[in-house]
């Protein structure tokens, strides 16, 4: 029992990342009808927004500190982050410590801007082209974005720690009455899960309960008719693209402490997220979220040692295997709508 609970928890954080990326992919597909292979790159850029932000915060200048002397009696040179000058040392330390959550303030506008630029500058010209062309051009864009990140940040993973308040692990077992230390779970992953739940809930609420969301949903169902009613649906879809980019971006930024970002992570996540989208059903938002969590949890179950003993290597292929079975038995995916890319 405790082992099962542990695996479910372990699957949650990866599942959250899959779900967030898949949600963005589905939003873009559902609104614009574009298959965006560069979505993993947006996740990557989000993660590096967090890296950049924490680097900006710790930018420092050298000050000669008269109170500290080295062994010759000369005053020491100390690096002081600019942030100390602005807020004082105590507040400055807290801000640097909380760099990752604070970086969301920086990530969201950057990602929305990138999303707008991408949609207006490139994707717009590909609405009428075949899906293969859309896949190919966004695939090229993904390579370019990943290489730009590599040029500025190098090829090595950059560790980006979570705030020290979340550094420890939470002992679930003790809370639920199991032996202590059987089910422990890092706090930051809990935060990530909660964060993902809030974002997903927010996107759904936005689509469900606002006028803007209603128009977008109408546009997803029948773009032409909405256009004939005199609504500028293109503009709204561009905004949705920005939102989808921001969702992928914040997912990446918050994921940075879990997995040190490197320039390849976008592609790794993209391939899996595509599988997630297809399993969930092309164009279905709840399907994407459900499939994201489901596959994340399945993946962690498959890496249990009991399972691995009977089926060696299953943890490496489980997601693809499930995808193949689902695609062949339920052509629409788990929750796909009728008539959306059904061939």
């Amino acid at each position: 029992m405790d082992a099962i609970l542990l695996q479910i928890l372990n699957g949650m954080d990866k599942g959250s990342a899959y779900a967030l990326i898949a949600l963005g992919l589905t939003l873009i597909f559902g609104t614009l009808g574009v298959v965006n292979f560069a979505h993993g790159a947006l996740f990557l850029i989000g993660a590096f927004c967090a890296v950049t932000f924490s680097k900006i915060l710790s930018l420092s200048h050298v000050v000669i500190d008269e109170s500290q002397k080295d062994f010759l009696g000369n005053p020491l040179k100390v690096e002081v982050p600019y942030i100390y000058d602005m807020f004082g040392q105590a507040t400055g330390d807290v801000i640097i410590d909380w760099a990752v959550p604070l970086s969301l303030l920086f990530t969201v506008p950057v990602m929305i801007a990138i999303g707008f630029a991408m949609e207006r500058g490139l994707i717009k010209h590909f609405y009428k082209r075949p899906h293969a062309d859309q896949i190919l051009v966004t695939f090229g864009l993904a390579i370019v974005l990943a290489e730009i990140v590599k040029y500025f940040y190098g090829a090595n993973p950059i560790p980006t720690p979570a705030p020290s308040a979340f550094a420890g692990s939470f002992d679930f077992g003790a809370m639920l009455g199991f032996d202590p230390n059987t089910i422990i779970y890092p706090y930051w992953r809990l935060v990530y899960f909660a964060f993902a739940a809030v974002i997903i809930g927010g996107v759904f609420a936005f689509l469900q309960f606002t006028t803007f969301g209603m128009v977008v949903r109408a546009g997803m169902a029948d773009r032409e008719t909405v256009g004939l009613l005199g609504i500028n649906i293109d503009k709204r879809f561009t905004i949705m693209f920005g939102i989808a980019a921001a969702v992928a971006g914040v997912a990446g930024a918050m994921y940075a402490p879990i997995n040190s970002p490197n320039y390849n992570m976008g592609m790794d996540f993209l391939v899996l997220s595509f599988v997630v989208v297809v399993v969930g059903g092309m164009g279905s938002l709840p399907g994407a979220v459900l499939a994201g969590f489901l596959l994340g949890i399945l993946e962690s179950f498959a890496s249990m040692s009991v399972v691995l003993e009977t089926l060696p290597g299953i943890n490496q292929i489980i997601i693809y295997l499930v995808a193949i079975i689902i695609l062949l038995t339920r052509p629409r995916g788990l929750m796909g709508r009728k008539g959306v890319m059904e061939d």
């Binding site: 899906h131 051009v137 391939v271 595509f274 290597g313 995808a323 695609l327 061939d343």
Partner: protein, 404 residues
């Protein structure tokens, strides 16, 4: 000639001449000159150019004709490589059985994958093939280590059984050969400052490539090729006329899988080692890039694309900062620094960036790839000379009607 019409025979002869004279053509700059690093006339690179040409020709039979975009073709290349290396370990270092078996095994594997994947089309087909390729890669890396060598990969060893070969003497390296002719044999021809390398392995690969190219021309011109084009232009209409498209697409899939297996076998024949990274999905992406860059659905396009990308990979990635500074040394210092700073991110380690940008530009502005670019340039001249019957004109005829 060989059952080809005049144009196709001309194209085949042009490709044959280019392939056989490649050691000269790819080595236009004298040794030791500043431009010598643009020379591509060394055996390793020339072999890669033609082998990936074969890979792309095969991929084009599937993607160019039927429009099914497979994102998992590297798996067949990898399977072919593993089959070839096992033949070399168990049977003989002669390349013939290795290559034949690699084609057969890759064909069988692609039959299995194709049979399942082709039940869907469009993006679902892409995802299915990608899933199969990623599964093969993951398994080759982990569980199948006894067969694939896992992370270290496989090489022929001194102690392997090799039932058909004579036992090697101590200290002798097992080398891939063709009835005694070793792949790395060759001779160098010195003419003034130029050094031309003629390599046995390259010529074997080039001859195989010409055969593969000839077969692909025949497929393009056959009724079977017509059927595949019908699948691309309108599958529904084809079904309504009472034709079942599945056997045709499956046949195309298996043929392109066998081409990939052939390329994998040749890679092993030239450089006797395999690693699982050959099956990673970026490798599948690369063959897609080659085909699109050259021009999908044209005969010559994939070969051009493969040559272009492999050349770039080897040459552009060798340019470093000091080379750039040397080039622009004649300019005033300020301008030199600016130029070096602008170009530097795109060369050396950054060549993937150049590749990505180039690929985007091609997809956006030249959906027909380099061949279409050639046609446009050709058109500018054709007004003057209406009878100029060039390769481009031939390619123009082949260009399929716009998809979907």
């Amino acid at each position: 000639m060989f059952g080809l019409n005049k144009k196709d025979a001309g194209l085949l002869i042009v490709v044959a001449i280019l392939a056989l004279a490649a050691p000269f053509i790819l080595n236009p700059f004298p040794e030791g000159s500043a431009m010598a690093q643009f020379n591509a006339g060394y055996p390793d690179l020339m072999q890669r150019l033609v082998i990936f040409g074969i890979f792309a020709i095969g991929f084009n039979i599937l993607f160019g004709l039927t429009g099914y975009l497979s994102f998992g073709h590297a798996a067949f290349l990898g399977v072919g490589s593993y089959a070839a290396i096992w033949m070399m370990k168990l049977l003989t270092m002669n390349v013939i059985p290795a290559i034949v078996v690699s084609i057969i095994i890759a064909g069988l594997f692609s039959l299995l994958v194709g049979f399942i994947s082709l039940r869907r089309s469009g993006i679902y087909f892409s995802i299915l093939t990608l899933a199969f390729a990623q599964m093969s890669y993951a398994l080759a890396y982990s569980v199948l280590t006894p067969i694939t060598g896992g992370e270290t990969g496989l090489q022929p060893k001194y102690t392997d059984p090799r039932v058909l070969d004579k036992a090697l003497e101590a200290g002798q390296q097992p080398r891939a050969n063709l009835f005694g002719l070793e792949m790395n044999q060759g001779f160098q021809l010195e003419m003034g400052n130029w050094v031309f390398t003629f390599n046995a392995g390259y010529y074997i690969a080039a001859v195989v490539m010409l055969v593969a190219f000839y077969l692909s021309i025949r497929i393009f011109r056959s009724p079977f090729g017509m059927m595949l084009r019908a699948v691309k232009s309108n599958q529904q209409r084809m079904n309504y006329t009472g034709l079942n498209s599945k056997p045709y697409t499956l046949a195309a899939f298996v043929i392109s899988g066998m081409y990939a297996g052939l390329a994998g076998g040749l890679l092993v024949a030239m450089d006797t080692q395999v690693g699982a990274e050959r099956m990673f999905w970026t490798a599948s992406g690369e063959v897609v890039l080659m085909t699109i860059l050259g021009g999908a659905g044209t005969l010559i396009g994939p070969v051009l694309g493969a040559g272009f990308i492999k050349y770039m990979e080897n040459i552009v990635s060798k340019i470093n900062k000091s080379v750039l500074e040397q080039w622009f040394a004649f300019m005033p210092d300020g301008i030199e620094d600016v130029l070096v700073a602008i170009i530097y991110p795109f060369v050396g380690k950054g060549w993937h960036l150049t590749l990505g940008l180039l690929f985007m530009l091609v997809v956006i502005f030249l959906p027909g790839g380099l061949v279409e670019g050639g046609q446009r340039i050709g058109k500018m001249f054709r007004r003057r000379d209406a009878n100029a019957n060039s390769i481009e004109a031939d390619a123009a005829e082949q260009r399929k009607p716009a998809a979907e």
